[in-house]
């Protein structure tokens, strides 16, 4: 079961989307702000973070930077409602895994989450391989 965190200041949006995701078998949590998301990733390992860009206090771009500073392998899918792909591209340059424009179809979002989960697994395996090869090299095996 993929673990997803939805970060959006619109209460109805995050609650309804979380409900739809849970109906599709995901373990979906919600956070109303970037600050809350930063707290939540400390206590749970998420396969994907769905992040709205336009939020009060700490916007999505800043949240993205801080999330990746804490966990560089985090798979962040950015939701942009700004009628342009420019912000999404900017987010990807900053390290976001992908972006979607609001209003996004649930099927598109589910596909992106699946890709994110696969990428996270691949990164985990890469790290594991590296650790194993480091150990074997050190031991001279």
């Amino acid at each position: 079961m993929a673990k997803v965190l939805l970060v959006d200041d619109e209460k109805d949006f995050r609650e309804i989307l979380a409900e739809r995701m849970m109906g599709r078998g995901l373990d979906a949590d919600t956070a109303e702000s970037g600050f809350k998301a930063l707290e939540m990733i400390e206590s749970k390992s998420y396969d994907a973070i769905i992040l709205d860009l336009a939020m009060p206090e700490m916007d999505g771009m800043e949240t993205l930077k801080r999330l990746l500073a804490k966990q560089p392998h985090l798979q962040v899918i950015v939701l942009t409602g700004q009628a342009t792909v420019q912000k999404g591209v900017e987010a990807v340059k900053l390290g976001a895994a992908d972006f979607l424009e609001k209003p996004a179809e649930i099927e598109s979002l589910m596909a992106k989450i699946e890709e994110a989960q696969a990428r996270k697994l691949a990164l985990f395996e890469q790290d594991l391989d590296k650790k194993i090869s480091d150990i074997t090299r050190k031991k001279g095996w």
Partner: protein, 229 residues
């Protein structure tokens, strides 16, 4: 504050009237997009429930009631946004004429609410309802107020309050934009705003103290026809 004030000012330059219109519509349509996204997801949730129902999962009347309530609430929110934007857009219909500054300012304040919210700032309008008829170019008067509001917003920090007020003097209307901070604030550079105000015969008077900043825009009750036309 995450977004520094210089960046904020550059994002909303005072160069042209088109930029003023663009800033307002961009902000408002973004909010409208949020409303549409919620309606879209709520409709999707209803489809999900119906799909489940075809497979034998019952749908409770409470679920349907909750979904209908959310759609109704968001539709009302969206309609309010569209009406505010429509009133604002019609302010540019005539180059000059009589209009209710109280209503126009209240509308502008609501349109600017999202920009304030994104900075964590509370925007109030006082008195909430006031009628003050004056003659002039509504669009340019609102542009002046909005640019001053953005200038003061750029100085505001999270949790602070900006109050937009209106009062009538003998020969003029006075629009006050006050930032309450409880700290000393520098007065923002208002040179561009003063030029724009001058075009409609208005004056801008800023003051600061240990509690914040107040900027008063003095508007003539009738803009001279030779000014700014």
């Amino acid at each position: 504050m995450i977004e520094d004030k210089e960046k904020f000012r550059i994002r909303y330059p005072a160069d042209t009237e088109i930029r003023f219109f663009g800033t307002i519509t961009a902000s408002v349509t973004h909010e409208l997009n949020n409303v549409m996204s919620i309606i879209s997801q709520t409709g999707g949730l209803l489809e999900d429930l119906l799909s489940g129902n075809r497979l034998g999962r019952p749908i409770s009347p409470e679920s349907l009631e909750r979904i209908a309530g959310k759609i109704r609430a968001q539709t009302t929110r969206g309609t309010d946004i569209v009406n505010r934007l429509n009133r604002f857009a019609h302010g540019a219909d005539e180059p000059t004429g009589m209009f209710d500054l109280g209503k126009a300012l209240n509308n502008l304040g609501q349109l600017a609410q999202r920009l304030a919210t994104l900075r964590g700032v509370i925007l109030k309008f006082t008195p909430e309802e006031m009628t003050l008829e004056l003659e002039g170019c509504q669009f340019r008067i609102l542009q002046t107020v909005f640019l001053v509001l953005l200038a003061i917003l750029s100085e505001a920090q999270k949790g602070e309050t900006i109050t937009l007020s209106l009062e009538k003097n003998a020969d003029c209307a006075r629009v006050g934009i006050r930032l309450d901070t409880g700290r000393h604030c520098e007065i923002p550079d208002l040179s561009r705003e003063k030029i724009i105000a001058g075009n409609i015969g208005a004056g801008i008077a800023p003051q600061n103290d240990t509690n914040g900043i107040i900027i008063v825009i003095r508007l003539p009750m009738k803009t001279p026809p030779t000014v700014g036309q």
